[in-house]
Symmetry: C2
Subunit: 210 residues, 2 copies
DNA sequence: AAAGAATGTGAAGGATTGCTCATATTCGCA
DNA sequence: TGCGAATATGAGCAATCCTTCACATTCTTT
């Protein structure tokens, strides 16, 4: 099973490589995963099939590149928002994070959904987990300024709430405008407030125990 | 393109038909959609490929039957919960609905996710929309007892919040126990409370305008 | 300009898939 | 028991699909 050949796949023209990835992305969002064939990708990218296989070892690798790109994009936006709002009011910081997530989902809704599904079937699980981890961390720092008692669980829940609402909106064909942001903000604020009072109760109850 | 033959597909043995659907479901949850081949389904169901095509006109029809089954199951549980709790305290009613949704997602998590994805690629959109509509309606009646000002938008948001949190939990491999239910309840309660105070504000502002 | 390296090409191999149809088997009934 | 209808079977067809490889083209260097 050793495989000594094939070292290139690295240098080559970066433009062509990106063209292939972008072609794959467009096919993914117009025809779904079952329409994503190597021939279709090559044709759409304006490249021959042979060339495609000089840039990528196989079809999965092309798909993986698409996912990696999408993930990096979201990661970049989230980091930007976090950095930019490190000293802004907490509500504004939360909104900036939300807007990053919304942009990710609404710029190319179909692609975002296909990517999310495909990620579970590829071996990118570790990278996906790492992104989730970082997002939870960023969110945690922000919500701590709104609800100091919040922990990792609350951060994961806030991410899940936002993702769920944004996803549903995208599926329903809604437009991702300020109205949606406002609703998600309300949901998160409500959850944090409720959680705070709940943990206060718990603390009160357990400290009242003998 | 006329196709006069093939009227059966109806009577036949119901047990065999269900065996085929169940086989498809199991393949879907172990190998995903790309592992769902007609040969695999037939083999797993203990039937020949020829027989499969006497029960279903094509592969899509088998998949559609799986989805229809899953959907009917959820629908049944939701209706049951709603009926059973029509005169129970609102909080208990909401919890019953949540438990129905959780059961749907956690009994066979992988299958639930594959089904949700597949539905968007089949022409079942109308049926899916009808289910969403009914779920929103059931939820609306329940949350109205907690927050009388709630409307269809709030019902959809509550569904989205619950779905998002339950989905995330299932993906993370969490177990869908009482702790998860409690967290989702908090999120929904918080959202409704926040929304109520928000609409009160809006009403106050707009009635204060000349 | 010439040669060698790098890159691009697409016909074709090998594998798989959805599905059909001629045949075999079983079932229901007299 | 015997016969016709209902049902089951699986080899095989046509259509794809992914991938390779012998060859054509372009680029680089001298």
């Amino acid at each position: 099973m050793h495989n000594p050949r094939k070292q290139p796949l690295q240098a080559r023209s970066r433009a062509t490589q990106e063209a292939i990835v972008e072609a794959a992305a467009r096919i993914l969002e117009t025809a779904g995963r079952e329409g994503l064939t190597t021939n279709a990708i090559a044709e759409r990218a304006g490249v021959s099939i042979g060339s495609l296989y000089q840039y990528f070892p196989n079809k999965e690798a092309v798909l993986a590149a698409v996912l990696r790109g999408k993930r990096a994009e979201l990661q970049g936006w989230m980091r930007d928002a976090a950095e930019r709002c490190r000293e802004a009011p907490p509500a504004a910081a939360l909104r900036a994070l939300l807007e990053a997530g919304m942009r990710h989902q609404f710029e190319r809704p179909r692609l975002a959904m296909e990517a999310e599904y495909a990620e579970q079937h590829l071996q990118l699980a570790p990278e996906t987990a790492a992104l989730a981890q970082e997002m939870a961390q960023i969110v945690l720092e922000t919500i701590r300024r709104l609800a100091p008692a919040a922990g990792p669980q609350e951060a994961r829940d806030v991410v899940a709430i936002a993702k769920g609402m944004i996803n549903a909106a995208a599926l329903n064909g809604e437009e991702g405008g300020a109205a949606l942001v406002a609703r998600v903000e309300r949901a998160i604020r409500g959850y944090l407030r409720e959680t705070a009072s709940n943990s206060a109760e718990i603390r009160a109850v357990s400290s009242a125990a003998p």
